[in-house]
């Protein structure tokens, strides 16, 4: 083991940072006020440059870094790049883009700012959301030359959805438009109108040039027509978001600890406050007790009495031995969260696999977990026009926002996001990651169980109703392959699906039937009745039968209609030559040799459907694409009749 030889610390470098003289280090009286700031905007509108410049101008850059970057830029024959003060990762410097959310502190005399740099590249939206969700205020950067772009609007839209209300708009690169007032006024008018439709009132519009440092610390002499505050002055006016101190108690329970004789309920106060002696009701569940003690470590000489306010982690014991568990919310008994199973919400989706109607997806709200069924995708919200898109296609794609209706199997407790934001926000999980987030707008009252009848009750249990997807086509056309693929796809989405296979039926229920036209009709009749029963039980039945006669298929459709079972016909089509070439069971071969009489396509007719709901050309369309089309059809059929929108506002 070597020993330490203390070395002389290196002398303070004399060099001033490049490229301009640094302002003298301001006196730093230890500001206590903190503000988390997110910077958003279209890619290349100058976010990293702005942040780099702010760090530089407020003397917040670590010693030597500016010099190193200057040297590197010189070596590459580039101008000094402020953005490099921020960008850490190799790829970022190489590609000149910021890859992930970065948090950088800088300080002024009165306040510590933490800048959350959120990348503008569309594929990195999840990082922006990750950053912006925790911010107190936002700076939206707009390029004076380019004006508003789709991403600028999308970012504003998401900020409003995330609940951010303090927004400053900085119109950047004013140097490139000769500091002309008309350009600034034009952007202000256009963006102001857009933001007001979102219910967002930007605090300021500030003209700047981040690269040249104009309008950042003090108003720019080049823009005498602008009389508002400089960027940093304006930011000084923002309040760091005050936690909800008023309001009813909401203590989200994280865990119950029994490390010793104490039974400690640990959690986070999201709203209101908690004191010793306070009555608390734990929902869902509704058990009540009073706070016996507030536990601390190290133990205080005078035991803590509270109040412990919003934003605080807390640990309490209760007067009664209640069964309390993670997921419950300790609440003010006089003003509790609502409990329910169906609610409407606005969701934003950030996973590459779309959120699909009918699917079952893990939901997390506070510390509660539930399986949610997407029972309605009512409209997509277009970030640019703010209008509902036409036709949702039954899915919400990556980077889209939609109004949806969700149902959870067991009631959850929440408050509408408009009332207590933290209690009305949830995330949806996909592949162990957050796939999207949402804010609850309203609880949907459920109709009384008794009046619904058993079919509706079954649908409520399953989250869907039964239906029949009837596949017809030649032997070897690909019915079984598609049917099995569809079955797996639906089961994977939490839909109870089952293949009813012609070959299987003939080994049992239709064992006594042959292949004469009459026997074929009887076989289809039996299959139809069985399929209807299964569908009535709630199953999505995938019936795969050659079913060569139009009349038989028409009869099946008619019977389903009589019984109120949704029914769709799928024509699995491949030319006879292709089917015969595939011949998986050597049936064509045997038929051609005369060993199987009445074989469809050989010596018995096949009557192709005239108007199938879906036709699949299995010789042309890849199976996985066809299965997706079929899954959409099946899910649409299996959706319960949508009750009228009776979203009660809460």
């Amino acid at each position: 083991m070597s020993t330490l030889s203390p070395t002389t610390p290196r002398p303070a470098p004399e060099a001033q940072a490049a490229p301009a003289a640094q302002p003298a280090a301001p006196a730093k009286p230890a500001p206590q006020d903190h503000l988390d700031l997110v910077v958003v905007g279209h890619v290349d509108h100058g976010k990293s440059t702005l942040i780099g410049r702010l760090l530089f101008d407020t003397n917040s850059v670590e010693e030597g870094k500016a010099e190193r970057i200057e040297a590197a830029c010189k070596a590459e024959g580039m101008e000094f790049e402020y953005a490099f003060l921020l960008d850490a990762l190799l790829e970022e410097q190489a590609q000149n883009i910021t890859m992930d959310t970065t948090r950088v502190p800088f300080r002024t005399a009165s306040r510590v700012f933490t800048i959350i740099d959120a990348p503008g590249h569309k594929e990195f939206l999840k990082n922006m959301i990750t950053g912006a969700a925790s911010a107190d205020a936002a700076v939206l950067l707009v390029d004076a030359l380019e004006g508003l772009r789709e991403q600028s609007r999308r970012h504003c839209f998401l900020l409003s959805l995330l609940g951010l209300r303090q927004i400053l708009v900085a119109v950047n690169k004013m140097d490139l438009v000769d500091y002309r007032r008309e350009v600034f006024d034009g952007i202000r008018a256009e963006l102001g109108e857009y933001l007001s439709r979102l219910g967002v009132e930007p605090a300021h519009f500030v003209p700047i040039s981040a690269k040249l440092g104009e309008g950042l610390l003090r108003r720019s002499a080049r823009m005498p027509w602008y009389t508002g505050p400089a960027l940093l002055e304006a930011l000084g006016g923002f309040r760091s978001s005050p936690p909800a101190t008023g309001g009813p108690l909401r203590m989200v329970v994280q865990d119950v600890y029994r490390f010793d004789t104490r039974r400690i309920v640990a959690g986070l106060v999201e709203s209101g406050s908690v004191s010793v002696g306070d009555p608390v009701e734990f929902v869902p569940g509704g058990k009540r007790s009073r706070v016996k003690s507030i536990e601390t470590w190290p133990e205080l000489a005078a035991r803590a009495q509270g109040p412990v306010g919003a934003g605080s982690s807390v640990a309490v014991t209760l007067e009664d031995e209640l069964f309390v568990e993670r997921g419950q919310i300790g609440s003010d008994p006089g003003d509790k969260p609502v409990e329910g199973r169906i609610f409407t919400a606005r969701v934003f989706w950030i996973h590459k696999t779309p959120l699909r109607i009918g699917e079952l997806i893990p939901l997390r709200i506070g510390t509660q977990r539930a399986e949610a069924r997407v029972i309605g995708i009512h409209r997509k919200l277009d970030a640019v026009t703010l209008e509902g898109g036409s036709g949702t296609g039954g899915e919400v794609n990556v980077h889209e926002v939609a109004e949806v209706r969700l149902r959870v199997r067991r009631a959850i407790a929440f408050d509408a996001a408009g009332r207590i934001p933290a209690l009305g926000r949830f995330v949806l999980m996909r592949d162990r990651r957050i796939g999207g987030g949402g804010v609850i707008d309203a609880l949907v009252e459920e109709q009384a169980g008794t009046s619904e009848g058993p079919a509706a009750s079954r649908a409520a249990i399953l989250g869907h109703r039964g239906c029949i997807v009837w596949m017809t086509g030649l032997s070897g056309a690909g019915k079984s392959t598609l049917a099995k693929g569809l079955e797996a796809r639906l089961l994977g989405s939490g839909v109870l699906a089952m293949v009813l296979d012609g070959d299987v039926l003939r080994t049992g229920l239709s064992k006594n039937l042959g292949f004469t036209p009459d026997d074929r009709s009887e076989n289809i009749r039996r299959a139809t009745e069985l399929a209807i029963h299964l569908a009535e039980a709630g199953v999505v039945v995938i019936a795969a039968f050659i079913s060569p006669y139009r009349a038989d298929r028409a009869m099946a459709a008619e019977r389903a209609k009589e019984r109120g079972v949704p029914y769709a016909e799928v024509y699995v089509n491949a030319p006879l030559s292709v089917c015969e070439g595939r011949d998986p069971k050597q049936l064509y071969k045997k038929a051609r040799e005369g060993r199987i009489p009445n074989f469809t396509g050989v010596d018995a007719p096949y009557e192709a459907p005239l108007a199938p709901d879906i036709e699949v050309r299995t010789d042309r369309e890849p199976a996985h694409e066809a299965i997706e089309r079929l899954a959409k059809l099946a899910i649409d059929l299996s959706l319960p009749d949508d009750q009228s929108d009776s979203g009660a506002n809460i």
């Binding site: 070597s2 133990e299 957050i434």
Partner: protein, 267 residues
């Protein structure tokens, strides 16, 4: 709420989520100032108990004074201490006397940690890293997945917001839980001062020198300082523009060393 209270509450929330979310979490402890805040916060989060093992990756190049502190703290806090040394690498002769510091750090810290993890089967590691330590760490998540090879996929990090995190890991993977991510160096000192958290004496000035960040003996250099108390240190930090880890040789050995170390699984 005051800023330190906010940070404390958030860290406690994260620690409790980690304890609930994983089967076998463990806490990394280097005996440094951030580590000691972490231990302190864990005691607070669990009302006096630390319900998971505390792991020290011992490079065998620790300052003797730190080893003394280690024994004292284990008794004082009463936690389950696991010390791990990459004995195999030391037997191969890997050491600062013979090998470059990046390789030594890799072998005696990263590989040692991998060995420790697979030996005990930990599925989450609670660490004391902070965003302000380094521009690469600034991009970290509170719950940051690592694959079976310890790699950090910084290009495709899971989103996390509204207090929802990645709490599941696949086979062989683990998650780094980083409750101090939002703290700055000065926040740490202010908190140490406020809560009177015990610290190794090496952080304070002796003969005009003190350590600002503590690593392995051969590659950790003191800085010139007369700071004898935490409030002296805070005053000093308010005016410095020298980065905290400037006394750590392995960070400067080559360009982007820190990013390479982290992508390979360094704390």
């Amino acid at each position: 709420m005051r800023h330190l209270d906010e940070l404390e509450s958030q860290s406690i929330y994260l620690l409790r989520e980690a304890f609930h979310g994983f089967e076998k979490p463990a806490m990394l402890w280097s005996m440094g100032k951030d580590s000691n805040v972490l231990v302190w916060l864990a005691k607070k989060a669990f009302c006096g108990h630390i319900p998971f093992p505390v792991v020290h990756i011992d490079t065998t190049y620790e300052f003797p004074e730190m080893i003394e502190f280690r024994s004292w703290a284990k008794e004082h806090y009463g936690f389950d201490l696991k010390v791990w040394v990459n004995v195999e690498a030391r037997n191969r002769g890997i050491g600062y006397e013979t090998t470059d510091p990046v390789t030594v750090t890799h072998e005696l810290k990263t590989v040692a940690l991998q060995q420790c993890l697979s030996n005990y089967g930990f599925d989450a590691l609670i660490t004391g890293i902070r965003r302000d330590e380094d521009a690469t760490r600034a991009k970290e998540r509170y719950f940051s997945p690592r694959n079976a090879d310890f790699e950090w996929d910084y290009k495709d990090q899971p989103p996390e917001f509204w207090n929802h995190f990645t709490t599941e890991s696949g086979p062989g993977e683990h998650v780094r839980v980083q409750p101090l991510l939002d703290w700055t160096e000065i926040d740490i000192w202010r908190y140490l001062e406020r809560a009177k958290v015990p610290l190794p004496g090496m952080y304070f000035s002796r003969g005009g020198m003190r350590y600002r960040s503590l690593g392995c003996m051969p590659i950790t250099k003191p800085v010139r300082s007369n700071a004898m108390s935490i409030s002296d240190i805070i005053e000093e930090l308010k005016v410095t523009r020298v980065s905290e880890r400037s006394g750590r040789a392995q960070d400067h050995h080559e360009r982007n060393a820190m990013q390479k170390l982290r992508a390979k699984g360094f704390m």
